[in-house]
């Protein structure tokens, strides 16, 4: 047993030693912390960071700490990114407040920290997100108006307790106040395909009357569940995911109406663009919010949807591949998903 242990240790040793050959010049090292895997939006977010790193020419290495977890795993990951010598850390935070101490430690060491997609409350951090309150507001308003202000609506939320879900729920609830005849059932999709499919199946099997579905971004799965169950479509609100936009175009003739609300995963690359600016002593506001827009598949809106649909793109990727003026990369670079 001893020999085997030593052997395991030595082979680990040599493997690690061989892998550390890469050297960094005077370019920046970028760390990324993400705690939701198996989600197309997050994959695209990481690809946009790698693409921006490649396009900027200022980055020597992108280190991605990517695993499923909550704040405790993310705190450990951020500490490890600090250890690994990151000059900038891009975080998609799993909690608004829990990361603040470790963010402060990073900033005290001269590291630029940017929270993307969801906000953190640490004043030292830069925050670059879609306006998540508005995201829910515009989508919910479209849906409630579509239903004539009356009916049963499913609110398919994301992950309980994370900042974006809380903000979106706030927006949804604010709009709901103006529509007293809308009744809401809330479920959590965990922003996961399998869970969304299961929740939708359960709802359809329960026999509850459903007049419309608002989703927090796992959208095409809901439409697919309706197709599988051979139930007539109800209006669905989703994000600007490629697959969902394809459905809005293709299934319009079969009675599907819906709206896609923009939520660019390129906030990841944009966050890096901002971080690189700050590292080069350019001034930026600490909070940047992107205003979402709605595209529906009415006859007028269809033109925009068709222009946005991209057959080359993964169905679970968002069609919004960049956030100008923060990102510099092109379509090929984000599809390649390769960092320096």
């Amino acid at each position: 047993m001893k020999r085997a242990h030593i052997f395991a240790g030595v082979s680990l040793f040599s493997m690690l030693a061989a892998a550390s050959g890469a050297s960094a010049a005077d370019k920046y090292v970028v760390g990324v912390s993400n705690t939701l895997i198996g989600n197309g939006w997050r994959e695209e977010m990481i690809c946009s960071i790698k693409a921006e790193a490649e396009a900027s020419g200022l980055v020597s290495k992108v280190i991605v700490a990517n695993r499923n977890g909550g704040p405790s795993e993310q705190i450990a990951d951020i500490r490890n990114l600090i250890s690994a010598g990151a000059n900038a850390i891009i975080i998609n935070p799993s909690d608004r407040d829990a990361l603040n101490p470790v963010i402060k430690q990073a900033v005290d060491k001269g590291i630029v920290v940017v929270a993307v997609d969801q906000a953190v409350s640490a004043p030292e951090a830069y925050v670059l997100t879609n306006d998540q309150v508005a995201y829910a507001k515009v989508g919910a308003k479209w849906l409630f108006d579509k239903l004539g202000g009356k009916g049963n609506v499913v609110e398919m939320r994301g992950i309980d307790g994370v900042p974006a879900d809380a903000d979106r729920h706030q927006g949804f609830t604010e709009v709901l106040k103006d529509y007293p005849d809308i009744k809401v059932v809330s479920v959590f999709s965990g922003w996961a395909l399998n869970k969304t499919a299961q929740e939708t199946k359960d709802l359809l099997a329960s026999g509850k009357p459903i007049d419309g579905v608002w989703t927090s971004g796992i959208d095409s799965t809901v439409v697919d569940a309706y197709k599988t169950a051979q139930k007539p479509f109800v209006p669905v609100v989703g994000a600007d995911n490629n697959g969902f936009i394809g459905q809005l175009i293709d299934l319009k003739s079969q009675g599907l109406s819906g709206a896609a609300v923009s939520n660019p995963p390129a906030v990841g690359g944009a966050g890096l663009g901002l971080a690189l600016d700050v590292l080069q002593k350019k001034e930026h506001p600490h909070v940047v919010k992107i205003t979402p827009v709605v595209w529906d598949n009415s006859d007028a809106g269809l033109v925009k949807l068709k222009a946005a649909y991209n057959p080359k793109l993964d169905p679970f990727y968002s069609v919004a591949i960049d956030v100008k003026p923060y990102t510099q990369y092109n379509m090929d670079q984000i599809l390649a998903c390769k960092g320096p």
Binding site: H5, A8, G9, F13, R67, A76, N80, S83, P101, G161
Partner: protein, 328 residues
């Protein structure tokens, strides 16, 4: 082979396996520390603190699991008990003072002891296998954690968090590492060398022989689970201390990882053999692995692959040693 030769070979195989059980894990840990130092030349105080902070709750879970496994059981509710202690402390301490928080911590650790004792009592009274009882209570405690705190939140006074996250209690070691040494040293080491410790090992090794030597195996098992509960309570409070919040679902990770740490740490799943040092070092190793992988920019999910490979290797080597022993 003559009878004398046979006996000699058997005792040689036996002492070799004992020797490996005691030294294998420390050697493996030493090797991984050397490997880390080789790839990460600036590995310093900050990194040692990261390691200690990350490993503290898992080390507590591993200690809890090790005590239960040594006494002949297995506890699949470790993660849920940690979750309960975590959300309980984060929700109660949120608006408490530093002194109140210390009191609450002691109280919550006692709650852990009661939870563990309930596990042990159910097992002894019902004679349902440990794995079934603790799986079930694990679901129950998991639900209780969600009832206490629906979503991640809560908090604790900052002086209280400093106990875990700071580096000021000792000039050499980060607080989290010091806490780990104190918790294991103050609670487990005296018990290990007392009659109670001996009865735990005896019960795990052979409950009938233990009974005939005047040990009550049923009481020993209840005490082992209760002691495990104490370390789960400490683990949960430590999780609050190191993250600053309570997360009802954070415990899930610790159940299976504690079993992994126990196996890698050289504790026999058949009971009666092994110690707590091995599992604690294994917990540190399992935390060090993703750190190194992130440093090398390798997907940290490979950490799970390496962890699984280690477990298979250790179990195979253990099985091989037992096989050689049986054959000779």
């Amino acid at each position: 082979m003559s009878a004398a030769n046979k006996m000699e070979a058997s005792s040689a195989a036996h002492s070799l396996s004992r020797y490996l059980r005691a030294t294998g894990m420390p050697l493996l840990f030493l090797a991984s520390i050397l490997a880390t130092l080789a790839i990460h030349r600036d590995f310093g105080a900050f990194d040692v603190q990261s390691l200690a902070l990350g490993a503290l709750p898992l080390a507590m879970a591993a200690t809890a699991q090790a005590i239960v496994v040594i006494s002949g059981g297995i506890d699949l509710s470790v993660g849920s008990m940690i979750a309960v202690a975590n959300v309980l402390s984060a929700s109660l301490m949120q608006h408490a003072s530093f002194r109140q928080s210390l009191g609450l911590a002691v109280l919550i650790i006692l709650v852990g002891a009661v939870q563990g004792a309930i596990n042990g009592t159910l097992i002894v009274l019902s004679r349902i296998p440990d794995i079934v009882v603790t799986l079930t209570t694990g679901f129950i405690w998991g639900g209780v954690a969600l009832l206490i705190l629906e979503r991640p939140g809560g908090g604790a006074p900052s002086d209280f968090l400093e106990i875990g996250a700071g580096a000021d209690l000792s000039p050499v070691l980060p607080n989290a590492l010091l806490l780990l040494i104190v918790a294991v040293g103050v609670i487990w080491v005296p018990i290990r060398s007392s009659r109670l410790g001996l009865s735990l090992y005896a019960t795990g090794s052979d409950p009938i022989a233990a009974f005939r030597s005047g040990v009550d195996p049923r009481l020993a098992r209840i005490l082992a689970y209760g002691l495990g509960g104490v370390f789960c309570g400490i683990g949960g409070v430590a999780l609050t201390m190191t993250t600053g919040i309570g997360a009802p679902l954070a415990g899930a990770y610790y159940t299976l990882s504690s079993v992994a740490a126990v196996v890698i740490g050289g504790v026999s799943l058949n009971g009666g053999r092994g110690g707590v040092l091995g599992p604690v070092l294994a917990a540190l190793l399992l935390t060090l692995l993703p750190m190194d992988l992130i440093f090398l920019n390798i997907d940290p999910n490979y950490g799970q692959v390496i962890q699984g490979t280690l477990i298979v290797l250790v179990v195979m080597i253990g099985g091989f040693a037992a096989f050689m022993q049986g054959r000779s």
